[in-house]
């Protein structure tokens, strides 16, 4: 079963560098020759297996849901609707997380995402902007997101600011600007097209879910199949090596933050549509959600490694947890305590599952050798 041989240990704990068990080349060659190589092998072997762990966590969460609310889960149409609700709930943070994943893989961090969403949302719902119609609103949201991202990127790549500080400053400043623009009021969107984004279904599936899917697919292709993605991994994994290989590290860093800003712009449109309004305090702490989702999804905070699918699963796990609490009517404080436990358990399950799989395969392999 060589195609399941793990190639690296789970997330590196503080100070305990991951030791990567290597793959037996002969076995791999054999497997390849006999065409048994499964589709997810090759480039993302380790990531794929980690993602299996996340899927297992998701399944556990759903099972808990079934056990605690058999009445609801007994109803197939409710289950389907609930699944869509979870995905809809995940969609906004999901789009932000895709951008965040690129930034973190590229060795940075973006604390300003929530603020950018708010600024873009507020900007696109001012009376003036709304007068330009849906096109003008979407255009302005995307442009604002992109522009703020570019400023982040410039500060970090050419101003040489530490990403944490630069984006923290941007977070504060962008929320301030959003409050200034909106006069701290909630700005209602009167545009039916925009508001419709959140309520339209296509083939029974909400438009928001399609948008999330499109962004995820685009992100996946960008990361795994393009030179941009390869540079991202190189820049985050070893910036000096990337530089000496002729990659323009600064320009690439700039592009990463711009990408994140653009994702925030998209998210702003989605969130504004959902709330049919925007205000300076919206998308509160999305930065934390996005970073947490990316990291639970296997992205290394220090850069150089991560997967889009993992990040997506991370977001979905978080929104499934929220949903689980909602359908069980848990109080906030109980909810928070349980949530902490679930996060820890999720990561542990993922690791144990991963390790025991490794061991199991290891044992298997040894007996056949």
């Amino acid at each position: 079963m060589s195609e399941m041989t793990p190639t690296a240990a789970p997330e590196r704990a503080a100070g305990l560098p991951a030791q990567s068990p290597p793959v037996d080349p002969a076995e791999t060659a054999k497997a390849e020759a006999s065409g048994r190589l499964s589709w997810w092998r090759g480039d993302g072997g380790e990531g794929a297996k980690r993602n299996l762990g996340l899927l297992a966590t998701l399944v556990v969460l759903v099972v808990i849901g079934i056990l605690t609310r058999p009445d609801l889960y007994g109803n197939a149409s409710w289950v389907w609707g609930n699944t869509l609700t979870i995905l809809k709930l995940a969609s906004v943070v999901g789009v932000v997380t895709v951008g965040m994943t690129f930034v973190i893989i590229g060795g940075g961090i973006d604390l300003s995402v929530g603020a950018i969403v708010a600024l873009a949302g507020v900007w696109c719902t001012t009376v003036a902007t709304q007068s330009y119609g849906a096109g003008g609103m979407i255009f302005s949201a995307l442009t604002v997101g992109l522009a703020v991202g570019v400023v982040n990127g410039l500060l970090i790549s050419y101003g040489r600011l530490v990403p944490f500080i630069a984006t923290l400053a941007m977070m504060v400043a962008a929320r301030g600007l959003a409050a200034e623009i909106s006069d701290k009021q909630t700005q209602v969107s009167n545009n039916q097209f925009i508001n419709g984004i959140a309520s339209t279904n296509v083939l029974g599936i909400p438009l928001l879910v399609y948008i999330l899917a499109a962004v995820v697919v685009a992100g996946w292709v960008l990361l795994n199949r393009t030179t941009f993605g390869r540079r991202t991994v190189a820049v985050g994994g070893n910036p000096e090596a990337a530089r000496l290989a002729g990659i323009n590290v600064r320009r690439h860093t700039l592009l990463l933050y711009a990408l994140s800003g653009l994702c925030c712009g998209i998210a702003a449109v989605m969130l504004t549509a959902q709330a049919t309004s925007a205000q300076a305090a919206m998308a509160n702490l999305y930065e934390l959600d996005a970073i947490a989702a990316a990291i639970i999804g296997g992205t290394l905070l220090s850069g150089g490694r991560g997967t889009i699918i993992g990040s997506l699963l991370g977001v979905v796990i978080f929104s499934t947890i929220t949903n689980l609490f909602a359908i069980n009517g848990l109080s906030t404080e109980a909810q928070n305590m349980v949530k902490g436990g679930i996060i820890v358990a999720a990561v542990l399950v993922q690791q144990v599952q991963f390790r025991s799989l490794t061991q199991f395969l290891g044992r298997n392999r040894l007996t056949t050798t």
């Binding site: 990567s20 068990p21 290597p22 393009t226 070893n238 002729g246």
Partner: protein, 521 residues
């Protein structure tokens, strides 16, 4: 700087010649790899026991078993007559085994003294006895022949060679009965190696045993007592006399075949074409000054010099990785934008840097992605990468450099040091590089692969590629290059065709610099 006092106090109960370490049938597997597959080893007090083997043969793994980093799967380790099982590095250290690892293991933001005594700092009530520690460090550094390194200096500020000295100081700061050195000379220049050997002799005179790993046969002849040869994780020959065994025998046992350890012939007629690289008056204060040189297409130009003579900095500056304070770099007559690697690469330059881990490799990424790191854009169409093509190209490079293991999808992290080096050099053998800057390209590369590498470099030159080669091994520079520059303290002190120089002349130039009259051209 000859020392009078003994470097390390020998443990009182040492009997020279007594077997201190015996390994029987030691096996260590990593998932999918048998790194050690039945190793036998016997080390006596007071001897220098050399370990020989190709890249990936298992030498480093073996010493990691000895120093408590890895635990063997099976087999027995006997330490001073008793079975030993070192659960962690601390246990091995306590038993009296000190190790200088192949990869530098220093903490950049601690001082020299703190690094030397890391983990066993002299202390009182938890407080570091800084004065005491500094004094002892100064003492050890002095005996190592480097009194100029201040114990309080951050290790970050030291050049690679200085760091190696600190690593050595750390090994000597323990009371050890066995000191293991994994390719210590790989980052040292000629005079430093002499220094190292002097220290080793002092150590063994105290009855301390030394395990010495190197790919340089001359060193083994000079310092070794007995040799054990590893091949594919097995002992293929044990306890050969280091001085008497013929080289071809050793090589045969390492590789299973015979290899001529010679440099490829230079082509009979001068193949060099038009001037490719012209450097004029290049200066970076404190590193090198007023360097002018040129490389023609198809020519191999070597730069010899001591560690610290500024060769690496020169190469990096030519490549645009550092910004010069004065001077110009031209490729094929066109001046390059200073301080821009992108411009240099676009003009056809490629550089294999000196420190593979920090400057060249993405350790977690697969081999093929490391090999194509500088060229993946060329195989891409409309920004989409072509993984199949990349793997094929990487495979080709792996073949020509005897990379092992050969599965190019393995993460580089799991490769042995020498094989990692091959990946670094291999990167620039792809694509349409017109000028290759090589900084210590054979560092840690075994005899067989080295010959292959020389062959590859020569044939690239034959295809019209210019090569600028920096190496601390003078024979390598003389054997491979067409023309040689000798650098001392940041200046070129001599330039001559390789044929006109011999090893001693170069060494004299490099050290004394008194032959200034004859240079520079």
């Amino acid at each position: 700087m000859v020392t009078k006092a003994p470097l390390v106090e020998a443990p009182a109960d040492t009997v020279v010649g007594e077997v201190v370490l015996r390994l029987t049938d030691v096996v260590k597997t990593f998932p999918g790899v048998r790194a050690l597959d039945g190793v036998q080893l016997e080390v006596r007090a007071g001897e220098v026991h050399c370990l020989l083997g190709q890249n990936g043969a298992g030498k480093s793994t073996l010493i990691k078993v000895l120093s408590g980093v890895h635990r063997p799967d099976s087999g027995e380790v006997q330490w001073r007559g008793e079975p030993a099982d070192f659960a962690n590095p601390q246990a091995a250290m306590r038993a009296g085994i000190a190790t200088i690892y192949q990869e530098l293991d220093l903490v950049e933001d601690l001082s020299v003294a703190e690094n030397a005594f890391l983990g066993h700092e002299p202390r009182r009530l938890g407080f570091v006895r800084r004065g005491h520690m500094a004094r002892r460090t100064r003492e050890i550094l002095g005996r190592l022949g480097h009194p100029e390194i201040p114990p309080g200096r951050m290790v970050r500020a030291l050049p690679a060679a200085g760091k190696q000295v600190v690593s050595m100081a750390r090994a000597l700061s323990h009371e050890a009965r066995l000191i293991i050195m994994d390719e210590p000379s790989a980052v040292l220049a000629h005079d430093e190696v002499g220094n190292l050997f002097r220290i080793i002799r002092e150590l063994t005179a105290q009855g301390i045993a030394v395990i010495y790993i190197s790919h340089r046969m001359e060193e083994i002849r000079e310092i070794g007592d007995r040799v054990t040869v590893l091949k594919d994780g097995r002992t293929t020959a044990a306890n050969l006399p280091a001085r008497e065994t013929p080289t071809r025998d050793l090589v045969a046992r390492m590789t299973g075949r015979t290899i001529e350890y010679v440099f490829p012939d230079r082509p009979a007629d001068d193949p060099a074409g038009a001037e490719l690289l012209q450097v004029e008056g290049l200066t970076r204060h404190g590193e090198f000054a007023d360097v002018s040189l040129s490389v023609r297409a198809g020519e191999i130009v070597g730069i010899a010099g001591l560690v610290g003579s500024g060769r690496s900095e020169l190469l990096e500056t030519i490549y645009g990785a550092r910004r010069p304070q004065a001077g110009t770099v031209r490729m094929a007559g066109r001046a390059l934008r200073p301080g821009s690697v992108g411009a240099a690469v676009k003009a056809g330059m490629g550089m294999a840097p000196e420190e593979r881990k920090s400057q060249a490799l993405l350790l977690g990424e697969p081999i093929y992605r490391n090999v194509t790191l500088a060229t993946f854009g060329r195989y891409a169409r409309l920004g989409f990468t072509d993984a199949g093509r990349e793997r094929a190209e990487a495979d080709r490079i792996g073949d020509s450099l005897e990379l092992r293991p050969r599965d190019v999808r393995r993460p580089v992290r799991t490769l042995s040091g020498g094989n990692q080096q091959k990946v670094v050099v291999g990167r620039w053998l792809l694509g349409d590089t017109r000028l290759l800057l090589l900084d210590e390209p054979t560092r840690g590369v075994d005899v067989g692969a080295r010959a292959e590498l020389y062959q590859v470099i020569r044939s690239l030159a034959a295809q019209g590629v210019g090569v600028l080669l920096v190496s601390s091994e003078v024979p390598e520079v003389l054997g491979l290059a067409d023309r040689v520059l000798v650098m001392r303290e940041g200046r070129v002190v001599r330039e001559a065709p390789a044929g006109e120089l011999d090893e001693n002349t170069v060494l004299d130039l490099v050290m004394a610099g008194s032959l200034m009259e004859g240079a520079p051209a």
